[in-house]
């Protein structure tokens, strides 16, 4: 691939000219992919703190629903009935907690940190480009995202509080202002925040796709790309195809809420025993369908969970091979499996709607797609396991996280087989079983992937290493607490424990589950507190960690051929050429146990390649 606008000489010159840039242009309104990646990452960290805190409050409520939380009532006066000395949580506050926890975690943390954060950091480095294809658009995309974050955070302080209709915002609950307090101003802020987020993600996606297609360095053919780069490409494509459905739905919801349309609102709505009438004495809303929103939402929603997960799967493949000191097993089938997962993710959205009232024949079609997606997912797991067989594993922090992803991907993926079958889903839908499933696979794999990537590529972010001992302590606390928090949720879900429920013990059949809920809550608190280790390690290492060399992990990829952190323009001289795949570890024909992607083919390899023809032995 040839370079487009970024000639190496011109750029090297620019780098000097840029050296005296003002702080604000260099680090705030930056156009440099690395700075923008770090900006995304740190913003996502702040959002994760907020959403994590919300989760802790949710868990306290589920374990001890009628408890008087005197201190919390002082900190969150709007959330607790402070009057009369009571500090019991209000139901509207609880609805707001789980709505905003889900929204912030899914979009503003787990889509942002792996995709926008590491995508921006790694794509030019792994592809061998000076920067992203459109640096200005990149900066614009971050600041659009930032506005979205501000809008979402502001929504906690408007009118009756933030949105409270669930992160899925099903109308009519989210459309009728009188249906739930959060559907007053809070829901409007939610929609506006989401529109900013989607606009930002779309700009990012355009940049990702263009950069990966057009700016790859010479020799980096698609089948020599690292799995992370493949994941970023697929994620960008998924985002570009899926998010338009949600932005359309959001705009329709705005119109239903404020301008009297009826996209999602059927004829005959009666709220609080009073028909919702217009001035003419007829129903205000006529002929809309609440199911339309669900179709549009989940048309995005399901590809979205793969947008969260695919980067983590890519990181895991890169990290696992490095610390196993062994080539990635079944590289082509790994690429194929990822593409299959991406493609199938567009025809499975209806599995969120098996009991929604849609035509049962439609449910059958969606069950087919959903069960099929288990095949490429299983292929990935088997390939990872085969990669570990006969390995020489180095258990540094990144490796622990990568193995954690494999473990979570197995545990969370298997419960997907239960839920994919539409009839068992009747019993399990909307229970904690579903919460267990997606927290393990989608949230857990994405989160562990981000932690792994952070400890692995930290040198390329800040030029320093993270502390390995602190990192391991963080891993072990998180890994054990994560399983203790989410694994028992399967069990209470099967017993019928509902999701999104302010006080489960109103139901006789849920009363015996309180001890398990207490155990889950204590685990969740441990999980939450353990993250302090990460914050300490992150900020301390960024400023005072051990300085990293070019290639501290003995890795093969292009990002390890330049300084840590990379200079402006990424390589001081010419961009290196690629001659092989990034997973050449333990090859007995070489004196070193790892062979860089930039290493020219040896005479023997050239001979072999000529004999086998051009199509084989891409790597």
């Amino acid at each position: 691939m040839t370079e487009m606008a970024h000639g190496p000489e011109a750029h090297a010159g620019q780098a000097h000219a840029h050296a005296k840039e003002a702080f604000i242009w260099k680090y705030v309104f930056s156009k440099n992919h690395r700075i923008i990646g770090v900006q995304y990452y740190v913003t996502a960290m702040v959002m994760a703190l907020v959403a994590g805190l919300l989760a802790m409050l949710i868990r306290l409520q589920l374990a001890w629903p009628q408890k008087d939380w005197g201190v919390l009532a002082k900190i969150f006066p709007m959330g607790y009935d402070a009057g009369g000395g009571f500090g019991v949580m209000r139901p509207e506050f609880y609805a707001m907690l789980f709505t905003m926890h889900g929204t912030i975690m899914v979009f503003f943390v787990l889509s942002t940190a792996p995709v926008s954060g590491f995508g921006n950091l790694l794509i030019p480095l792994q592809a061998g480009a000076r920067d992203m294809a459109f640096p200005f658009l990149n900066g614009l995309s971050f600041w659009t995202f930032f506005v979205g974050c501000v809008v979402i955070l502001t929504s906690f302080f408007v009118g009756a509080g933030a949105a409270a209709g669930g992160w899925t915002a099903y109308p009519p609950l989210s459309a009728l202002k009188a249906a739930v307090p959060g559907s007053e101003t809070g829901q409007t802020f939610w929609i506006v925040g989401m529109v900013f987020f989607i606009a930002s993600f779309t700009m990012g996606g355009l940049n990702f796709v263009t950069t990966i297609i057009n700016l790859r360095t010479k020799g980096l053919s698609p089948l020599r790309m690292p799995m992370t780069l493949w994941a970023m490409f697929l994620v960008a494509v998924l985002g570009l195809l899926a998010f338009p459905a949600l932005i359309a739905a959001c705009i329709m919801l705005i119109f239903d809420r404020h301008f009297g349309t009826s996209f999602f609102l059927p004829t005959g709505l009666v709220l609080n025993n009073a028909p919702l009438l217009g001035a003419d004495g007829k129903f205000l809303h006529q002929g809309g369908s609440p199911l339309l929103w669900q179709h549009l939402f989940w048309f995005l929603g399901h590809p979205e969970v793969y947008i969260l997960m695919l980067p983590a799967l890519g990181f895991t493949s890169d990290i696992l091979t490095n610390f196993a000191r062994k080539p990635l097993f079944g590289y082509k089938s790994m690429v194929g499996a990822m593409c299959a997962i991406g493609g199938l993710s567009f025809i499975v959205w209806g599995h969120h709607m098996f009991v929604s009232g849609m035509n049962p024949y439609l449910a059958m079609a969606f069950a087919v797609g959903t069960i099929l997606i288990a095949v490429p997912s299983a292929v990935k797991v088997f390939n990872w396991l085969a990669t570990l067989r006969g390995a020489r594993i180095r258990f540094n922090t990144p490796m622990l996280w990568a193995m954690g992803v494999v473990s979570l991907f197995i545990s969370g993926g298997l419960s997907g087989v239960w839920l994919a079958q539409s009839a068992p889903d009747i019993q399990l839908h909307d229970t904690m079983f579903v919460a267990a499933h997606f927290h393990l696979i989608m949230a857990g794999a994405a989160l562990f992937g981000v932690f792994g990537a952070t400890s692995y590529w930290f040198p390329k972010m800040f030029g320093r290493m993270m502390n390995d001992t602190l990192g391991k302590a963080h891993f072990w606390f998180t890994f054990i607490a994560y399983y203790c928090t989410f694994f028992p949720m399967h069990y209470i879900g099967i017993a019928g424990h509902l999701r999104r429920i302010y006080d489960p013990y109103q139901y006789e059949f849920l009363k015996p589950l309180q001890p398990i809920n207490e155990f889950i809550t204590i685990s969740a608190l441990v999980l939450g507190v353990s993250q302090i280790l990460f914050f300490i390690n992150f900020f301390w290492s960024a400023f005072a960690g051990r300085k990293a060399g070019e290639n501290p992990w003995d890795a093969n990829g292009l990002e390890w051929t330049t300084a840590s952190p990379p200079p402006h323009g990424n390589w001081p001289g010419a961009i290196p050429e690629v001659h092989r795949w990034p997973y050449e570890y333990a090859n007995p024909d070489f004196p070193k146990d790892h062979v860089m992607q930039t290493e020219p083919l040896t005479a023997a390899e050239q001979k072999l390649k000529a004999a086998e023809g051009p199509s084989r032995h891409e790597h």
């Binding site: 080539p327 095949v375 006969g390 622990l400 009839a423 009747i426 069990y491 070193k592």
Partner: protein, 280 residues
């Protein structure tokens, strides 16, 4: 394929973790502990006692548990074994082994075969559960509203009276049209449902305001109540007793207390039980 080079590696830049062995062992132990914990949890009584004819759903859940449980144990134990067995010794190299088309095709096809079996069973079961109700099934209408279940029986004429949402009010929450002759004998209950044992019932599910979900944990029944739609489901109650109705879809502040009761009675005692419930 499995070639192992014995010459020393020339690393040196990486600080190989001295705690490598311990970490590998810990990972193996954690994974084994996870398997043990999961096995312990999943073999205890779990589903609410079944009180309907939908036993096939329980069987499907059990089958899923057995198959995915076996895969879970096998893969996690492999992960444990590999992390315990294949640790870096600083001396030898890993196996240069990175593809084996026959093995890859085998595990792809075996997985596909298992999944197709699941699919075949799942589609058949779904067709059974969503099949049209038997002709003799008893008709009941359930209408969700914030935050109550309105249950209506057609009465002796067997016909539900007309409803018009424009007529809805505090006294008439579902907007029953009293001018319709079929409506006069309709029996209305609030948060109560009386069912005769062993007779199929078909339930028409509606909503006045937002989406609710009609959930009978003991009957393996769950169906969203969507405003603007009437969705019909059917099942056969088995086992006399009192059970709970839950709302499974977040519907607002009172979602958590949108609770009702199902009383399953003998076929002989049904008329009296219904009259008693209506008199309350």
């Amino acid at each position: 394929m499995l070639r192992i080079a014995s010459n020393n590696r020339q690393s040196g830049t990486v600080e190989v973790s001295r705690m490598g062995k311990l970490q590998g062992l810990l990972f193996a132990l954690a994974t084994v502990a996870l398997v043990a914990l999961a096995t312990f949890y999943f073999t205890r009584t779990w589903l609410p006692p079944l009180k309907s004819d939908r036993v096939a759903i329980d069987h499907a859940i059990w089958l899923s548990l057995v198959v995915t449980g076996a895969v879970f144990i096998l893969t996690n134990l492999l992960l444990a074994y590999f992390s315990w067995r294949f640790q870096d010794d600083g001396q030898t190299r890993a196996a240069y082994w990175h593809h084996n088309p026959r093995l890859e095709w085998a595990w792809t096809l075996v997985t596909a075969l298992i999944m197709c079996t699941f699919l075949f069973k799942a589609l058949n079961l779904w067709a059974e559960v969503t099949s049209p109700p038997p002709a003799d099934a008893m008709l009941i209408e359930v209408t969700g509203q914030q935050f109550a279940w309105n249950v209506r029986y057609p009465g002796p004429d067997g016909m539900l009276g007309r409803t018009d949402h424009l007529l809805a009010s505090q006294e008439n929450p579902i907007g029953l049209d009293k001018s319709d002759p079929h409506s006069t004998d309709d029996v209305l209950l609030l948060n109560q449902m009386v069912l005769p044992q062993d007779r199929p019932v078909r339930v028409q599910i509606r909503s006045m305001d937002v989406i609710h979900s009609f959930f009978l944990p003991n009957f393996r029944v769950k169906q969203d109540a969507v405003p603007g739609m009437t969705v019909q489901i059917w099942f056969t109650p088995q086992g006399i007793g009192d059970y709970e109705i839950a709302c499974a879809e977040h519907c607002g502040l009172g979602h958590y207390r949108m609770r009702g009761q199902v009383h399953v009675v003998s076929a002989d005692g049904f008329d009296k039980a219904l009259a008693d419930a209506a008199a309350q």
